[in-house]
C-alpha cells in the first residue's frame, strides 16, 4: 500500500516559489491500477517522483507498506527503490547496452549473479514479447519496443509497484493500446500494483480501477473510474472527460435540457424513442457521450419545441424514463 499524507512540494528558484503539490492525500491499494490524470503542469510528474523519493517532498509523508520513506537512511532508500519499478515517457534506456543488458541492469545493481540475471532477463523479455531482440541496441528498436524493454527492466527485481509517468504519451494509438494491455496483464498475472500518470482520459478508461484528478497542485477528485466518469464533480474532471464542451449554443428560443447519462442508462436510441413517443420534435444542440461496457456516460443537450404542451409531454416522458435531466440556463 502506498499512502501519501499531506504531501507538499514547493520548488524554490532564484526569484520565485512554485508550489507543485499542495496537501496531497492519496491511498493506493495493493493490486490495483491507479490513475493520476491532469493537465500539463498540474504536478503529475512531481507527484509520482515523490513516491520513490526521486523528488524529496517539502512537507508531508510518503508511506510504502507503512514505512515512511523520508525516515529511511540513504542505503535503505536505495534498497527500497528496487521494489518500485518505474517507466517513463522517454523510455530512458541505456543506449550503449544491448536489450538484454538493459534488463539485467537493475539485477546487477541488486547484486544478482550474472548468470541468474541473464536467465531472469530472458524470462522477462519473453513476457514482453521481445525474446528475439535481446542482442539489439535501443537505437534499433521502435518506440513501442523500447517501452517493452523498459517494462521488462522495471520488472526485473520483482517489484511490488510500478510507476508509469506518461508511459504511452510518445506512442501511437495502437501501440498505446498494446502497451496498456501489457500493463494490465502484468497487473493481473503478477499482481503488481501500478500507478499510471497520464493526461489522456483514454488511458485511465482503458486500464485503471481508480483515478485521482489533479488540478493545479491539488487533488480535485478521486474515486472509482466508473464513478468519476459517470458523475464528474469537478470542473477539471468534466473537461478531461468531455474535452470539447462549448457553452455557446445557437437556439430557437425553446427550453433547453441537459440529459445526463450516468451509467444507469443502457445503450439504446433514447432520443428517437422520446420523439416517437411524444410526437414532438427536439433539436440536439450538443452531445457528448461515451459507451463503457454497454452503458452510456455523458450528456446530451436538447432544445424542446416552443409549443408548451409538446414540451411538457417530453418532460413527462423523461421523468418516466429514468434519464436524469436538468434545465440549462
Amino acid at each position: 500500500m502506498i499512502e501519501l499524507k499531506h504531501l507538499g512540494k514547493t520548488y524554490r528558484t532564484a526569484d520565485q516559489e512554485i508550489v507543485a503539490l499542495d496537501d496531497i492525500n492519496l491511498t493506493i491499494h495493493d493490486g490495483e491500477i491507479f490513475g493520476i490524470i491532469g493537465l500539463s503542469g498540474a504536478g503529475k510528474s512531481t507527484l509520482v517522483r515523490c513516491i520513490n523519493l526521486l523528488e524529496v517532498p517539502t512537507s508531508g509523508e510518503v508511506l510504502v507498506d507503512g514505512k515512511s520513506l523520508t525516515a529511511l537512511s540513504r542505503s535503505e532508500l536505495l534498497k527500497l527503490r528496487q521494489s518500485i519499478g518505474m517507466i517513463f515517457q522517454g523510455f530512458n534506456l541505456l543506449e550503449q547496452r544491448t536489450v538484454l543488458r538493459n534488463v539485467c541492469f537493475p539485477l546487477e545493481i541488486a547484486g544478482v549473479r550474472k548468470q541468474d540475471a541473464k536467465k531472469r532477463a530472458r524470462e522477462l523479455l519473453d513476457l514482453v514479447g521481445l525474446s528475439d531482440r535481446e542482442n539489439s541496441y535501443p537505437s534499433q528498436l521502435s518506440g513501442g519496443q523500447k517501452q517493452r524493454v523498459a517494462i521488462a527492466r522495471a520488472l526485473a527485481t520483482n517489484p511490488k509497484y510500478i510507476l508509469c509517468d506518461e508511459a504511452t504519451s510518445a506512442l501511437d494509438p495502437n501501440t498505446t493500446r498494446a502497451i496498456l494491455d501489457l500493463l494490465r496483464k502484468i497487473n493481473e498475472e503478477l499482481g503488481v500494483t501500478i500507478v499510471v500518470i497520464t493526461h489522456e482520459m483514454k488511458v485511465v478508461d482503458h486500464i485503471c480501477d481508480r483515478v485521482a484528478v489533479i488540478d493545479r497542485s491539488h487533488i480535485a477528485e478521486e474515486g472509482k473510474v466508473s464513478d468519476v466518469f459517470t458523475n464528474p464533480r469537478s470542473e477539471i474532471a468534466r473537461n478531461l472527460i468531455f474535452p470539447r464542451e462549448r457553452t455557446v449554443l445557437e437556439t430557437q428560443g425553446g427550453k433547453r435540457l441537459r440529459l445526463s447519462f450516468d451509467g444507469q442508462t443502457t445503450c439504446g436510441p433514447h432520443i428517437a424513442e422520446m420523439v416517437l413517443a411524444c410526437q414532438a420534435p427536439v433539436s440536439i444542440l450538443m452531445a457528448n457521450t461515451k459507451e463503457l461496457d454497454g452503458v452510456i456516460y455523458g450528456y446530451t443537450i436538447i432544445e424542446l419545441p416552443t409549443d408548451v404542451h409538446q414540451a411538457d409531454k417530453i418532460v413527462a416522458w423523461l421523468k418516466n424514463s429514468g434519464i436524469s435531466f436538468s434545465e440549462v440556463e
Binding site: 526521486l54 536505495l78 517513463f88 534506456l93 543506449e95 541492469f105 537493475p106 546487477e108 541496441y137 523498459a150
Partner: protein
C-alpha cells in the same frame, strides 16, 4: 626534388626517424597520463556542478577556478613558468620526460573540461531511471555516465591527443625533442626549409593517422549508430 646535405645526413643517421618516434612517444604518454588525471577531475566537475548528481558548490567553484586558470595561460608561457615544476618532478628541466610533465600540466585541465561536457550530454532521463532502480551516485558514474558517454569521451581523447601533438612540437623551443626540435634546430636555425617541410609533412601524417584510427574506434563503440 633535391634534398639538402643536412637533410640527407639527418636521414642517413636515423635522426628523423628518431624524431618521429620521440614525438609519438611524448604525445601518447602525455595523453594517457593527462587522461588518467583529467577523467576523475572532469567527473568531479560534472557531479558537483549545479545540475550534477551531488552538487557541492564550493568544491565545484574552486576546481573550476583552477582549471580555468591553467587553461587561460598560453602554452608557451605555461612551459616557461613550469620549468621548476618539471625539474622537481623528473629531476631535470630538459628532455622528453620534462616535456611530458609540461604537456600533462597543460592538457589535464583541458581534458577535464572535455570530460565534463561529455558527461553533461547524457540525457537526464537515463540518470533518473538509474536512480529509480536504486543506483548509488558512484554506480551512476561508473555504470551509466561513463559507459554512456564513452564514444564522446573517446572523441575528446582524440582531440586532446592532436592538441598535445601540437604542443609537443612547441616544446622544442625550450629543450623538447622530436620532430619539432628537428624543424627548429635544422630547418629554422640553419635555414634548410626542406627539413622544416618534411617535419611538417610528417606531423600532418601523424595527425591524420590519429584522427582516422580514433574515428574508427568511435564508430565501432557507439551503439547509437545503427549498424
Amino acid at each position: 626534388m633535391h634534398f639538402s646535405d643536412i637533410f640527407m645526413k639527418l636521414w642517413n643517421a636515423g635522426l628523423i626517424q628518431k624524431g618521429i618516434w620521440e614525438t609519438i612517444y611524448m604525445t601518447v604518454i602525455s595523453t594517457v597520463i593527462s587522461y588518467v588525471l583529467g577523467l576523475p577531475l572532469g567527473v568531479i566537475l560534472n557531479v558537483t556542478g549545479r545540475d550534477g548528481l551531488h552538487p557541492v558548490s564550493w568544491l565545484n567553484r574552486i576546481l573550476g577556478l583552477v582549471v580555468n586558470f591553467f587553461r587561460s595561460i598560453p602554452f608557451i608561457v605555461l612551459m616557461v613558468s613550469m620549468l621548476p615544476v618539471a625539474k622537481f618532478v623528473v629531476g631535470s628541466s630538459l628532455g622528453n620526460n620534462a616535456m611530458i610533465v609540461m604537456l600533462v600540466i597543460a592538457a589535464t585541465p583541458y581534458i577535464a573540461r572535455l570530460v565534463e561536457s561529455s558527461l553533461q550530454e547524457i540525457n537526464s532521463g537515463v540518470i533518473e531511471a538509474a536512480q529509480a532502480i536504486g543506483c548509488s551516485n558512484f554506480q551512476i558514474v561508473t555504470k551509466v555516465l561513463i559507459p554512456e558517454a564513452k564514444p564522446s569521451l573517446i572523441t575528446g581523447g582524440i582531440i586532446s591527443m592532436v592538441t598535445i601533438l601540437g604542443y609537443s612540437a612547441m616544446a622544442a623551443t625550450i629543450g623538447g625533442t622530436g620532430l619539432g626540435q628537428i624543424a627548429i634546430v635544422y630547418g629554422h636555425q640553419r635555414s634548410k626549409p626542406d627539413v622544416t617541410w618534411v617535419c611538417v609533412l610528417l606531423l600532418v601524417i601523424i595527425v591524420q593517422i590519429i584522427q582516422a584510427v580514433g574515428s574508427a574506434i568511435v564508430h565501432r563503440t557507439d551503439k547509437r549508430i545503427r549498424q
